[in-house]
């Protein structure tokens, strides 16, 4: 590995922005994001020999990062993480279509990071990784219902935040 340091640097330079972006989306605070980012990159370089040219390299990297992020989040909140139970009465909220002005990415990122860990994780996996609830449930070891519930609640929170901006701007 030592001899491949230049190669590692190349990979780092090429992929670090997008991978760091993922870390920022999943972790609430930046220090945690940095820690996971470093640890995950170390794993990447240690396990790079396991990349079998199946699928894109970037996809492989992302999977490692997401697994690491979820592992970290699970460690942080072992007791309360993903304990939400799906409640059909409250969790099937009709999603509204919002009239909104374009919002800066930084702001959107802030909203996501303000979400509770479990909601944020499900939201990220569903919206950005395009995973189905079944896949999310398997990955997070939760039920599909919980996954749906978390997603709906996350959306609800985000919806409120966005509406509050709009109101604020109108006012």
């Amino acid at each position: 590995m030592q001899n491949n340091r230049e190669g590692q640097l190349k990979i780092y330079q090429l992929f670090s922005p997008v991978l760091y972006g993922i870390c920022l989306k999943y972790m609430k605070n930046e220090d945690d994001a940095k820690d996971v980012f470093q640890e995950a990159f170390v794993i990447v370089f240690q396990k790079i020999s396991q990349y079998k040219f199946e699928g894109s390299f970037e996809g492989w990297l992302k999977r490692i990062f997401i697994n690491k992020l979820i592992e970290t989040l699970n460690k942080k909140k072992k007791e309360s993480f993903f304990l939400d139970v799906f409640d059909p009465d409250t969790d099937f909220i009709e999603e509204e279509e919002l009239e909104t002005i374009p919002i800066e990415k930084e702001k959107l990122l802030e909203y996501i990071r303000d979400l509770p860990d479990q909601y944020r994780t499900v939201f990220n996996l569903y919206v950005f990784e395009h995973m189905k609830h079944k896949e999310i449930a398997e990955l997070l070891k939760i039920s599909e219902g919980t996954s749906k519930s978390n997603l709906n609640r996350a959306k609800g929170i985000l919806q409120k935040r966005i509406l509050s901006i709009k109101n604020f701007k109108i006012a």
């Binding site: 780092y12 997008v18 980012f37 020999s49 279509e97 909104t100 959306k155 985000l158």
Partner: protein, 664 residues
Amino acid sequence: MKKHKIEDIFSSLEDFSSVPPPELWAGIEEKLDKPKKKKRVILWWSAAACLLLCLSLPAVLSDSGNKIGNGTSLEKNNVVLDENKNGENHKKSTSTEDQNSENNNEGILNTDSEKVTNPTNNSIVNQTKETAVAENNSETENTSKTARSKSNVSKSNIINSNTNQAVADGKTAKEKNDQFSVSGNQKINSEKQISNQAVAVKNYNSAKENRFNSADKNQLNASETQKLNTEKNNSNQAVAVKSYDSEKQNRFNSAEKNQFNTSENKKSNNEKGNSNQAVAFKNYTSGKQNGFNSAGKNQFSENEKRNLDKVLAEKTFTGKTTNSFNSTSKTQLPNSVFENNLNSNANNVALNPSKTNSTERKPNMLSENKKETLDRTQKSENAIAENTQKNNSKNNEVLTKQDSIQLIELQNIQSGLATFLEPREKEKKPKTASSGEKWAVEVFAGVASSENYKNDKTLGNVNDSKQSNSYGVKTKYKLNKKWAVGSGFKINELGQSVANVSYISTKNNAFLGTSDYLIQNATVPQIATNESYVLVSNTTRNALNSNNVQSGNLDQSLKYIEMPLEVSYAVFSKNKASISLNTGGFVGKLIGNSIAIDGTSIGENANANSFVYGPTLSSTVQYRVYKKTNIFVEPAMNYYMNPLSSQSFNQFQWGLNFGLNVSF
């Protein structure tokens, strides 16, 4: 205002990227530099070896002791025993134990040897040597705006000399925008062609002082080759750029950009083609002082295209561009945006903001390509230069968020990782073969104890179990996730103790020979080979009522080398732990045979069969302690069938083995 769903609103974050702080790489390097804990493996192996040694030592010592005690074992005297008919059968138990367990292309600056029958982009086949190096046009505008310099570099292609070289050396002035464009090679109807292209750029800037705005850009555009009708083509492209800036002082706005645009036009009709591109980039900046905002921008872009037509891949970019976006009041949050441009007809587009008011952009690109492919764009923007004094002058240069678009293609990304992936491609086949950790090797040692469930008696005395040791190696082959087969070798010792055995030692009695006794007891079977001792049963002892009859503890041990053949089924496997059930059979060959009374050898058991066999059943509890190294505990049960020739005698044996398992 449009109506959006929440997902739509946030979908802009899908490709969100952000440049990590530079210190993170240092942290990663530090972690990578930590010595690997291979010592742990050595430690485990040492522990296993010690365990083996400790367990086998008593066996070895006792064995040698017996042999010493035997002394004149060449004496072929017969020891005779009287069989107690009331005691059912004389059985000698043997015990065994069986164990089952499961278990670069580098960014070379074109020194590579290659066969370049390169018709090149000019479609000239027999071109001998073509070198075009570096035109640097630098313009300096001292007033307020940027200066740019252009460097057009074309490669040198040497046919049959196996090198293609393109060297560009650009030296820039204070404010500069250097572009290097390297055209590619085209290969037609050639087999096994490799073209390497390398561009090296070094920029040395010293004592740079820019007022207001400065943009320092280096661009390398390398467009690589098209190969038609080739079978094996390797196209390696390496771009190395070093830029040294020292004591750079920029006021207000400074942007330093290094751009690498590599466009690769890929071959068509290739069966096996590798296109590798390595981009090496080093940027050393020292003593940089920026008054307000500074940004370093590194951009890598690679563009890959598959063309059916010839590619004239000579491109020249002039970086006079427009800034459509003013990153005015934002702080130094570096942004990086990844975008994908599909079906872009431009091989490479670089927008270099040099003047705010100038909206001039001159992409001089000569490319007649039929583009069939997707162009994937990846942009890495490391920084955005900001103009904090934008209100003062429109002429200040402002770098936009999207002031530069760079294309990077997936394949080039992979090829950019040539240092990793190229060697591994070769290893790919063997790796896939062993990817599932099909094989496992085990070393183990354990204790075993034979059990006398039938209350068998010898010479009228109950047989007691005797603990013995076993050790060995085993190999397993995984058939699938659940099933495995295994075999190996094991040294096992069976033991049996019989307390208060009566015997007559003829050594001390000159008047009584064993032959006398044998004559009198013709039906007495012979169990030991030393005639100096006559074993007698309890009933005979009472009958003899002789003072010569002594009693002592009779110990027997039979040592076997066994070869088990087992089938394993994994009943549980989670994380690092696994449990499996093993069953099968074994055959063993007798390699040691001794009988001792009160520690004194009296010869061998004459009835021991040379070979034994039997079924075995065991369960392995295994735990992965380090990478591919596992420890395991294995309770086992063996059943020995007819270890003795003259008797119908089978024996159970329980065992508990400990060991190490390494899978690969």
